[in-house]
């Protein structure tokens, strides 16, 4: 078998619109400052439907402040967020000159156009079929964000949508790696998006007791690894990166943040929502990613964990890490940035990949907040208090993402 890295894939652009900021840089600075993006929801539907959860990590910069009016009208919020993040990433990469037929897009979403779907359902019921917006279907379809990005940058090598719940954004980056490795494209714009701060998903997640109900203290609600954790905090936004073959990036003299060295994927086939308690599925994804990056497990010095702040999930991920890395587990600095960003579902893996790339590039790991009393069942080396410096020289990090349905995705990021 030829090496997986014969055609190395590098990151040349970053973009994000998140609960912490309207750009990747603003988000990164907020992470280093240890800020929480969770806040009370000031929407009339919160009291109207008597939702048991009254806060979320809502988007920091409203799309109306960034996009043209017609774009906000004709695109579902999930596509709007993706477009904002993609334009930032594309500009950050220096708008590479590339044959459109060698340029791809891969944007995942966990839920898709839920706002459009249900707004138009209301229109149908209240006003009749003529009042259903003619763009309802292209707005609600889950591939809408990938299509919007493809149209915007003129990507003709392929526009793809990965759907694997909370692993969608990471899976899209894995798909993009493959597009470049297999020779289908030289440049791919890849990421994830989610706009599901909507009463229905909130009620659904609350019904399954997945959400934190710490309504009095939103900023303290997302507390991965803490003994007081009681569920995740719903977030929204998008994160997108520009990936290129190293050859293409070098030829145009691009700034290279890091190498997106590999993706490892597996499925639990255990339960529709519960993670496999012993972590064997997730550990296989991690080890596969490490192997495909031509690394040994002991080469990984940092993990940006999935760590959603649910009582069961955080332990299961620890078990998977321990299973994959054994005694090396204690040597790796781990952070759970969902403590600040909340859980962006289909955008989470993409956002955490962006953060891991920033960590490797800047040699800094943002600290996990709200970790007051670490769960003794999760003896990870968690970065708390101040952010942590990563060593100079060649380093490698891992980013985990897991989704309802038993989807496990791990990405490795290597310094350049």
């Amino acid at each position: 078998m030829t090496s997986n890295r014969d055609r190395r894939v590098v990151v040349t652009g970053l973009g994000a619109t998140t609960p912490l900021g309207g750009t990747a840089t603003e988000t990164w600075e907020a992470l280093l400052a240890g800020r929480s993006g969770a806040r009370p929801m000031d929407f009339d539907w919160v009291s109207k439907y008597e939702l048991p959860v009254t806060f979320a990590a809502t988007i920091a910069t409203k799309p109306e402040e960034v996009l043209a009016k017609v774009e906000t009208r004709r695109l579902d919020p999930s596509s709007q967020y993706a477009l904002i993040a993609a334009r930032e990433a594309w500009a950050d990469a220096g708008k590479p000159e590339v044959d459109p037929e060698r340029l791809g897009a891969a944007i995942g979403s966990g839920i898709g156009g839920v706002w459009t779907l249900l707004d138009q359902w209301d229109n149908l019921r209240e006003k009749g079929p003529r009042r259903v917006y003619p763009l309802a279907v292209p707005m609600l379809m889950p591939n809408g964000p990938a299509a919007a990005v493809s149209l915007d940058i003129g990507a003709r090598a392929g526009a793809h949508t990965t759907v694997s719940a909370c692993a969608s954004g990471a899976e899209s980056m894995g798909y993009a790696i493959d597009m470049i490795r297999t020779g289908r494209a030289d440049v791919v714009v890849a990421g994830g998006t989610e706009a599901a701060v909507h009463p229905l998903p909130i009620a659904g997640f609350a019904a399954m007791q997945a959400l934190s109900t710490r309504n009095d203290e939103p900023a303290k609600a997302s507390r991965p690894y803490d003994t007081g954790r009681d569920g995740f905090v719903l977030g929204e936004g998008a994160a997108v990166i520009v990936l290129e073959s190293e050859e293409h990036a070098r030829a145009r003299g691009a700034r290279i943040y890091a190498e997106l060295a590999s993706v490892g994927m597996s499925a639990d086939a255990h339960h529709i929502t519960a993670p496999e308690p012993n972590g064997s599925g997730a550990s296989r994804a991690m080890l596969y990613a490490v192997e495909r990056a031509d690394l040994s497990p002991t080469d990984i010095i940092h993990i940006n964990a999935h760590a959603t702040s649910t009582p069961v999930g955080d332990v299961a991920e620890y078990n998977a890490i321990k299973r994959a890395f054994g005694d090396h587990t204690e040597n790796m600095s781990v952070t759970a940035t969902k403590s600040m960003t909340g859980h962006l579902l289909g955008a989470a893996g993409a956002l955490e990949a962006v953060i891991t790339i920033q960590s490797v590039y800047n040699r800094l790991v943002p600290a996990t907040i709200n970790l007051d009393d670490q769960d003794p069942e999760i003896p990870l080396n968690v970065v708390t208090g101040d952010h942590q410096k990563l060593p100079d020289g060649d380093i490698a990090a891992l980013n985990n993402s897991f989704g309802f349905g038993g989807h496990n995705v791990a990405l490795t990021i290597r310094s350049i």
């Binding site: 043209a68 003529r130 003619p134 763009l135």
Partner: protein, 82 residues
């Protein structure tokens, strides 16, 4: 109550602006919706439905294909109101 051609034109221009982002001043009587204003069939359907609501008229689907210019739409709406 019937509105003047100018009132209908202005109201229609607002609807077109809302849907497409085109400047209201560009919505002139002799402009073709598809050729000059680059309005696709999906946007046209939205404009028609919004015009029905705004002007209190009914524009049958079979009529929409005949509304080639802004003047066609203004004239149809005016006669439907009277």
């Amino acid at each position: 109550m019937a509105q003047s051609e100018q009132e209908i034109l202005e109201g229609l221009a607002e609807i077109v602006n809302e849907e497409t982002g085109l400047d209201t001043a560009s919505v002139e009587m002799d402009k073709s919706f598809t050729e000059d204003l680059d309005i696709d069939s999906l946007s046209m359907m939205t404009i028609v439905v919004n015009a029905e609501e705004k002007f209190g008229v009914r524009i049958p689907d079979s009529e929409v294909k005949n509304l080639k210019t802004v003047r066609d739409a203004v004239t149809f709406i005016g006669s439907a109101q009277s």
